[in-house]
């Protein structure tokens, strides 16, 4: 044990670690690129129509020559639909909802953070209390309540997932505004007739850009997993539109006989989540080590 504690003081030899990080980063980049291509070019790439059913080809294991004479690299589901095609089309849903939710959350969070920072006083404490309260609550429960009542739809999903993540953006922008507000040059800009918008565009945003990129990446991973979770619970994207969470749910009953229906989309989802959130961690270490604590 003596040697081990001593060893812990020594860092790992730098070259091997750097090489491994590079390899992992390259792998992640390739995966994300594939995913984006799959989402954009789904109709071209997908071997079959993702919602076309085939009674003869039901529950076929991964095969090169199925009962319907086609190849199903990831098998078919309980309605005879090609799982690979559905996974490819599912990337569209995941990325669309993910990016849209990040934009919604970012816009709402940035606006509220700027307002809180510039207005200060009562408005500021209102907004920050709201942020605290939301953080003090497992949002998925509220999301379930809201979607249960409003009914699941693409728009509801994007708004609910987006609103679940506004707080971090708001905090970062607010604190940046607070830092700048006490600086003399901001007073000078005001005195010279410069608008608040100018201060935001020229001084606030450039300072927080790297933090925002990091937050948005981590939020993207969270949004994709939340969409899949809600779809898995039947509260997200509705059938027959293929979504990864919904597919895992559909395959749940056939887990024993046709394991590929659930596992194929599940593994892609898991990889996506790991790759995107690791990218976020990596960006954070690279761009903005101060965010580490959050």
């Amino acid at each position: 044990m003596a040697s081990s504690i001593l060893a812990s003081a020594r860092a790992e030899p730098a070259p091997s670690r750097a090489r491994r990080t590079r390899a992992l980063a390259a792998g992640g980049a390739v995966f994300v690129a594939l995913l984006i291509v799959a989402a954009l070019a789904a109709p071209v790439i997908a071997p079959a129509d993702p919602i076309r059913q085939s009674l003869r080809g039901r529950l076929s294991a991964p095969t090169l020559s199925g009962a319907d004479g086609r190849s199903h690299l990831l098998g078919t589901d309980h309605l005879g639909r090609d799982v690979l095609s559905r996974v490819i089309y599912g990337a569209r849903v995941s990325l669309l909802v993910g990016f849209a939710a990040v934009i919604v959350g970012g816009l709402v969070g940035a606006t509220l953070g700027l307002v809180a920072g510039f207005r200060g006083g009562w408005t500021d404490s209102m907004i920050m209390t709201l942020a605290d309260a939301q953080l003090a609550f497992p949002f998925i429960l509220l999301a379930i309540g809201i979607i249960a009542v409003l009914g699941p739809s693409f728009h509801t999903l994007i708004v609910v997932i987006g609103l679940s993540g506004w707080v971090t953006y708001a905090r970062v922008l607010r604190s940046q505004v607070l830092v700048l507000r006490s600086r003399e040059f901001v007073d000078a800009i005001h005195a010279l007739g410069g608008s608040v918008a100018r201060v935001i565009a020229r001084h606030v945003l450039p300072n927080v850009l790297s933090s925002l990129v990091v937050i948005a990446t981590l939020e993207l991973a969270r949004a994709i997993v939340l969409e899949a979770t809600l779809s898995f619970l039947g509260l997200g994207v509705q059938p027959p539109t293929p979504s990864w969470g919904g597919m895992v749910h559909e395959g749940r009953e056939y887990l024993d006989s046709a394991w590929w229906i659930s596992t194929a989309p599940g593994i892609v989802l898991m990889l996506t989540s790991i790759v995107v959130s690791r990218t976020g961690d990596w960006l954070r270490d690279l761009l903005d080590p101060t965010l580490r604590g959050e």
């Binding site: 044990m1 003596a2 081990s4 504690i5 060893a7 812990s8 003081a9 790992e12 209390t129 709201l130 605290d132 309260a133 003090a136 609550f137 497992p138 949002f139 998925i140 429960l141 509220l142 379930i144 309540g145 809201i146 249960a148 009542v149 409003l150 991973a221 997993v225 899949a228 979770t229 898995f232 619970l233 039947g234 509260l235 969470g245 895992v248 749940r252 887990l255 024993d256 394991w259 659930s262 596992t263 599940g266 989802l269 898991m270 989540s273 790991i274 959130s277 690791r278």
Partner: protein, 308 residues
């Protein structure tokens, strides 16, 4: 104990505001859901019947009054009648609570039992194969979706290996997989956190002093390191306990575990809104109470927190 009272007061205020916000959201969402009366009456009920039920539920009164009445009944735990179970919603939800508690506690205990030793070993044997493997696994555990972890466990442990039941709540065997699924995220976070806090302490000057004095390694780790690494671990651990409640919805659905999470989802399918609202509210109360207790413990452990 200087500063403990103001600290307590500010945390209480925060908890109260959070509760008020949750009940307000529940009220707003309920109003958005439209008229519940057609759900309660047969399709061809006469107009007079609609008016009577509406008056009975207080829906004919102005919104501010309805809001006040709603807050009043929430304080009394009155969420109306469950449409599906035909008894007060609160009684239904309370009946499902023990299963959720059982699952939550098991998940939490399992997470701690596995994560603490792993975190300590990883820190002490930093960069060893064990460290790299467990930390890679922890990263997966932190970013993998809970429901898919559950599905994978069912597929591999129950169906392929035939070791444990796939669902239900009979005996300890049926508790293992749900607890593992629900606890996976917590386990991963606690393992990583334990590793980094132990590492941090191992670098401290007083550890070097202790080692220079000739204190044995086992004693250094057990006595000096763990004690000082405990504070951040306790905090995050406590906060994780609240997050478990949110994960319970997914885990209970995957494993057909009869707790309030599954009740909420089933009530949505049954359009049993009183039960849905009651579940959301009760979970919120639990979550807020737990967070409050964690804050309190933290404030007692580390006086510096009180001032912030």
């Amino acid at each position: 104990m200087r500063g403990l009272l103001p600290f307590l007061a500010s945390r209480l205020l925060r908890a109260a505001i959070a509760l008020w916000l949750v009940s307000t959201v529940v009220f707003v969402v309920m109003r958005l859901s439209g008229d519940p009366v057609p759900l309660l009456l047969p399709p061809y009920a006469p107009q007079s019947e609609f008016a009577r039920v509406r008056a009975e539920l207080g829906l004919d009164r102005p919104l501010p009054v309805q809001y006040a009445v709603f807050l009043g009944s929430v304080v009394h735990g009155d969420f109306g009648q469950s449409i599906h179970f035909r008894q007060p919603a609160i009684r239904v939800v309370v009946g499902y609570l023990p299963a959720t508690f059982e699952l939550g506690l098991a998940a939490f205990a399992l997470a701690l039992l596995v994560a603490l030793p792993i975190g300590i070993v990883s820190a002490v044997k930093r960069n060893s194969a064990v460290d790299q493997a467990t930390m890679a696994l922890a990263l997966v555990g932190q970013s993998a979706p809970t429901f898919f972890i559950g599905i994978l466990l069912i597929l591999i442990v129950s169906l392929k290996l035939g070791l444990l039941p796939t669902s239900g709540r009979e005996g300890w065997q049926s508790l293992v997989l749900p607890a593992l699924t629900l606890g996976a995220f917590t386990m991963a976070s606690i393992a990583r956190l334990t590793r980094s806090s132990v590492l941090e302490v191992l670098r401290a000057d007083y550890i070097r002093t202790a080692r220079a004095k000739g204190v044995s390694d086992a004693v250094v780790v057990a006595k000096h390191t763990l004690k000082n690494a405990a504070v951040p671990i306790v905090t995050i651990t406590g906060l994780q306990f609240g997050t478990l409640l949110g994960g319970a919805v997914v885990t209970e659905t995957v494993f057909a575990w009869p707790g309030i999470g599954r009740l909420a989802i089933q009530s949505i399918y049954n359009r049993d809104y009183p039960v849905v609202q009651c579940t959301v509210f009760i979970s919120a109360v639990l979550f807020i109470v737990i967070n409050f207790c964690v804050d309190l413990i933290y404030g007692l452990l580390d006086p510096r927190v009180r001032s912030s």
